[in-house]
Symmetry: C2
Subunit: 223 residues, 2 copies
């Protein structure tokens, strides 16, 4: 019983779902979906025309990172990636919303979006002003991750949750470009090294975007 995931290699939301499936030990096939081609069969699965789309073994299509995360937690509750206590579940979801919301808009969209997605989608040249803003916001957001990692083992508390997977998914996409200033944020770096060494993370590190090599340290567990 295998899931099918329609994705783009450097899409942070897709990477989040790959990590989610791996942590829950659910087997899945990856399908590269060139969403800019607007394939009809794909639009039937995803009216918004966006990845990720996860098709369950029974054929049900689930679209979007957080919907997939809630549905997988309902259908495959063990191991939980939301936690068991009320406050823990609120905090894990708050941080998932943070990385899929403000972090995506202020960092991932401005760096991965401008440098990679714009070219793939045929939307023209990267906007250097957007990239400059993205790099500045990257530092602010990484400082927040650093502060969380300083007082907790995992970002939402004692346990690995969707918060860590979402944060790592977004940071890994930006890290492909070499735009994460790890050297200045030691606690964040130690947390990322821990999550980078998990088995589910390996496949993300071997992804390649045609015509764009990853930063030199991208695959290293010691960076």
């Amino acid at each position: 019983m295998t899931f099918a995931l329609y994705h783009l290699p450097l899409s942070a939301s897709c990477r989040f779902v790959r990590l989610l499936l791996a942590e829950k030990r659910l087997p899945f096939d990856l399908h590269d979906e060139k969403v800019w081609e607007g394939r009809e069969e794909f639009l039937a699965l995803s009216p918004a025309g966006e990845v990720p789309v996860l098709v369950e073994p029974g054929g049900l299509a689930v679209t979007g990172a957080w919907v997939i995360s809630e549905i997988l937690e309902e259908t495959h509750p063990e191991p939980t990636l939301l936690g068991t206590g009320r406050a823990e579940r609120v905090e894990a979801r708050r941080l998932l919303a943070w990385f899929e919301g403000p972090f995506a808009r202020e960092v991932t969209d401005l760096l991965v979006g401008e440098k990679v997605m714009k070219r793939l989608f045929g939307h023209g040249q990267p906007d250097s002003e957007a990239i400059r803003i993205g790099l500045g916001c990257m530092r602010d957001h990484l400082a927040y991750v650093d502060a969380l990692a300083e007082r907790r083992r995992w970002l939402a508390g004692d346990r690995l949750t969707v918060a860590d997977l979402a944060a790592a998914a977004h940071l890994s996409a930006v890290d492909y470009l070499g735009n994460v200033p790890w050297a200045d944020f030691e606690e964040a770096r130690l947390w990322y090294a821990r999550i980078k060494s998990r088995p589910g993370f390996r496949p993300l590190l071997t992804d390649r975007v045609p015509g764009l090599l990853p930063a030199a340290h991208y695959e290293n567990l010691d960076f």
Copy 2:
């Protein structure tokens, strides 16, 4: 045991939470939060500095529309606003993500954002080009609501769900401005009339923004 909701009257995400609480018959107090003032006590509840924030009777603060929706469904499952079947729960969440995502970005932010929020936040004059784009997207999105309402009693299926509440919350904020072309989308209008007549909707219709009267038909159940 009363909830406290920190909100802004014309914020669609806050309106969604008010409808959610009303449908679940949970009593709540409303607190107008002038988020642009960056009040410290508020930032302690919401690190992102955004509304909605729902404080549970026990004191736990829950931030953001979809996190609040998932947590309320877990703690107060009856009546369910996600449905009981797998496909139903996927569809209700997909549409919630649609209205809180693409609809918000392409319609609500460009109309309510430019005409109302920009002034409140002291961010200058409305951008007429943004408004023009928002009005165009409004028609496309309303056509989609119309198509859903034509084949289903409620947007996600046979039952009222978070999909209806999110759609109605966003549309009601835009409708305050008189920017919803109801006359051209009869099925959408009939669906909206049904949801507008629910008891939980009343308080939304009496909200007023200083210096900006609502469209003439805004409060009418027959519009």
